[in-house]
Symmetry: C2
Subunit: 277 residues, 2 copies
């Protein structure tokens, strides 16, 4: 008799919630998004949905109507009733007995959570410390997939050393991005960040940071930075959906600027807020 | 109110099976093993458990007693009652609301399935066709983790072109291994396979193939092969737990040998069976 075991309990396949057979858990065979709202309004929903559609297509999950996803996100957000909410959702290819190749008619699984997002004004006011970590991820980090083991291992290692984020460095010695964020430097009033590639997530917040930079009169230079260049930049910051812009004041052992958020970063933070009203 | 949504149904966190919050699905934060039995006896259980302990340690999942895992595997195998069984199990770091860093006291989740393994004598008798595919995996493929999206995409792409396995080729142009198997060539009575590294799973079947090769008088050469070298080898085969040795008779467009399993591979298959009694 075909059987399953959950912890120490033997059971049948039929008795289990199909999520136990989710290809998301067997293979990380799914894609996800994280959104936030500011004061009752979801930020950049269309941009996130567009990226999500791209992720689905990249791993060939079909049969998803993004319009339906939009409705679900909006319905769950309203039902939760948080002015500042964090919304996570993923779609996996579906549930079936474990097999590398998939059944063509598999029904994708959708899962979403909404929780309250409590902003951390101290991080924005004082800045955070980050450390470098080898980029051990796969070669398609432009896809927002559920294969995130190297990301969490990097972030955990950073946290255990007292750093808020791990900045990933590839084999060639260049910074790609943060384990869960985009990474930016400011050098002589130019915003510097790695060009988008297969190794970098096309960050939605990055799109808004770029607009923000233009509005505050910064030049924009897409270039790959080494850790040495980052450590000696005038200013550094991260961009991440849940926190938008977070100043970085320590990079490994180096203090950035005078150890406090710099003037350009502060101007970007102020300017970014205009997009959130 | 914090809430979750499964497909189109809004629910509370509390109402859901904790598996919905499994770090295995959020991040692929877990490790697994696949075992088989031959005629009522689990093959190489200790070797698999030893590798599993190594995988757990590599991603720092603690609190797992491998002796307990052994008991569960044996108990489930007996309960299922298949002479030839396929046993899959994974351990994830545990269930908690999504967060990159993990709670130190998280209880790992264990999941196992047993199903009947039906051997495919035709594959062994006639051999299979394989094709090359770019190796897009992460940099720690020596860990048997749940981050398998590049593997399944490669295997699916191969299957859709009529091939039974994808042979992964790294950026330097060398074969690492199959998407779900170890890969071997025979050239002038020498068994050739890539040396173990961070890019290659330490296959249990490989250990037995090596012993088998010694017993059949083959030399063993650990070397990285190019697709061109593989295509012109005297013989090729895969090694995988569920099927042990499978002859490869076509490699991309190239016919291997005379298009039928070669004499060394046949000798290896026969010799391997001695380990399974």
């Amino acid at each position: 008799m075909k059987l399953a075991m959950v912890d120490d309990k033997i059971t049948s396949f039929e008795e289990l919630d199909p999520v136990h057979f989710d290809r998301g858990i067997y293979f990380g065979d799914g894609v996800y998004e994280v959104l936030r709202s500011y004061r009752g309004k979801i930020f950049a929903l269309e941009e996130h949905l567009q990226r999500f559609a791209g992720s689905l297509a990249a791993i060939r999950i079909t049969g998803i109507d993004v319009g339906v996803i939009r409705q679900r996100v909006e319905r769950a957000f309203l039902a939760a009733g948080f002015a500042n909410a964090k919304i996570y959702f993923h779609v996996t290819r579906g549930s079936e007995p474990r097999s590398h190749t998939w059944k063509p008619d598999l029904k994708p699984n959708f899962f979403l959570t909404v929780s309250e997002l409590v902003d951390n004004p101290e991080e924005k006011a004082k800045g955070i410390a980050v450390c470098t970590h080898p980029d051990e991820r796969w070669k398609r980090c432009d896809i927002k997939s559920l294969n995130l083991l190297p990301n969490i291992l990097a972030k955990q290692a950073a946290a255990e050393k007292g750093f808020s984020e791990a900045i990933l460095v590839d084999d060639a010695g260049f910074i790609t991005e943060g384990a869960g964020s985009a990474f930016f430097a400011i050098v002589k009033r130019a915003l510097q960040t790695a060009p988008l590639s297969a190794n970098i997530l096309p960050s939605i917040t990055r799109q808004f940071v770029t607009k923000t930079a233009k509005n505050t009169g910064l030049a924009i230079e897409e270039r790959c930075l080494t850790p040495q260049q980052a450590a000696t930049a005038d200013e550094l910051f991260l961009a991440v959906t849940t926190k938008d812009i977070v100043p970085v004041v320590r990079f490994d052992d180096a203090t950035i600027g005078d150890g406090r958020p710099g003037p350009c970063t502060k101007a970007l933070i102020a300017e970014f807020q205009k997009f959130t009203v």
